[in-house]
């Protein structure tokens, strides 16, 4: 059974929770999970579009946190930043593995059903599958920057902190990533249900 978070921890800074956990307090772990597990799971889900895989990534990200907690340095990256970074790496890793043996976007299933609502739904599925496959084919840093910017909606300075690079480098990675995505996906625009006007 999951222990309830200790109310005394409700206002504690994230770093203090890590220290408390490293000193053996599992209620601190419960508080950390309450604060960050929903966001980590959402980030993994948006990249992977697969609940089971997203849960695996979430569990793995937190497992890494539990293991690193005794060596957590006061003043190092914020827990939130660290989790964005680890989750992004883990989820992109899985996405790339998933598409490694299936590198052609043509392999993404075509809509089969004729019902209008069903066609829309299946086209949406196909579009998002195509987006995932295209993201998986980007160089890793470009994919990470694009995902943090356009799937998580983070600002460039925050992405710069997560990726430990300059804001200018983030802008460049995002722009190059988007050009590469466009090059892969624009040819299939109509097929994926977008009007070519």
């Amino acid at each position: 059974m999951t222990p309830a978070a200790n109310p005394a921890f409700a206002d504690a800074p994230d770093a203090a929770l890590i220290v408390a956990f490293a000193n053996g307090d599992t209620a601190a772990a419960a508080e950390i999970m309450a604060r960050f597990a929903p966001r980590v799971l959402a980030q993994a889900t948006r990249l992977l579009r697969d609940q089971a895989e997203a849960e695996d990534v979430t569990q793995e990200a937190f497992l890494r946190l539990w293991r690193v907690a005794p060596r957590w340095q006061q003043g190092q990256a914020a827990l939130s930043t660290w989790l964005y970074q680890v989750t992004s790496n883990l989820a992109l890793d899985r996405l790339r593995r998933r598409h490694r043996s299936n590198t052609s976007l043509d392999a993404v299933a075509e809509p089969q059903d004729d019902e209008p609502a069903a066609v829309d739904r299946l086209q949406m599925q196909a579009r998002q599958e195509a987006l995932g496959a295209a993201l998986a084919q980007l160089p890793e840093r470009q994919a990470q920057a694009v995902a943090l910017r356009h799937l998580e909606g983070l600002a460039n300075p925050q992405i710069a902190e997560i990726m430990e690079i300059t804001t200018e480098a983030v802008e460049s990675l995002v722009a190059r990533g988007k050009r590469a995505l466009a090059a892969q996906l624009m040819a299939r625009k109509q097929e994926l249900g977008f009007d070519d006007d």
Binding site: G24, P38, R67, R127, H150, L151, A182, L185
Partner: protein, 124 residues
Amino acid sequence: MMTDKTDPKSEAFLDALFDERRAEDVAPPSDALMARMMADASAALADAAQVATPVGIPRPSPIAGLWAALGGWLGAGGLAAATLTGLWVGIAQPAALDSLNDALLGQSQTLTIFSTTDPFGSEG
């Protein structure tokens, strides 16, 4: 010169794809997931406690332990000096000891409480 901009049509197309992805439902963490993560947390704490009392580090040999108990090289130097002094005292001639006594304590006096000719006092 290479531009960092995507063309407006591509930009709009990609934005539509990203918007669609962000609008998808995301389930909150299930109780089962939270329980698995909490079990991981407890196991990590147990592992960390084991690391604090390591079992895989080889114990020092008895000789190494004795060497350490003697104080290492510093202790061994003192021990060697004491041993050599003892050895010298043991094998040195009495005259040499006398001269050492004289040097350390001044002129020595010999006190005889038994006659050397009548050690048992039988002559009264």
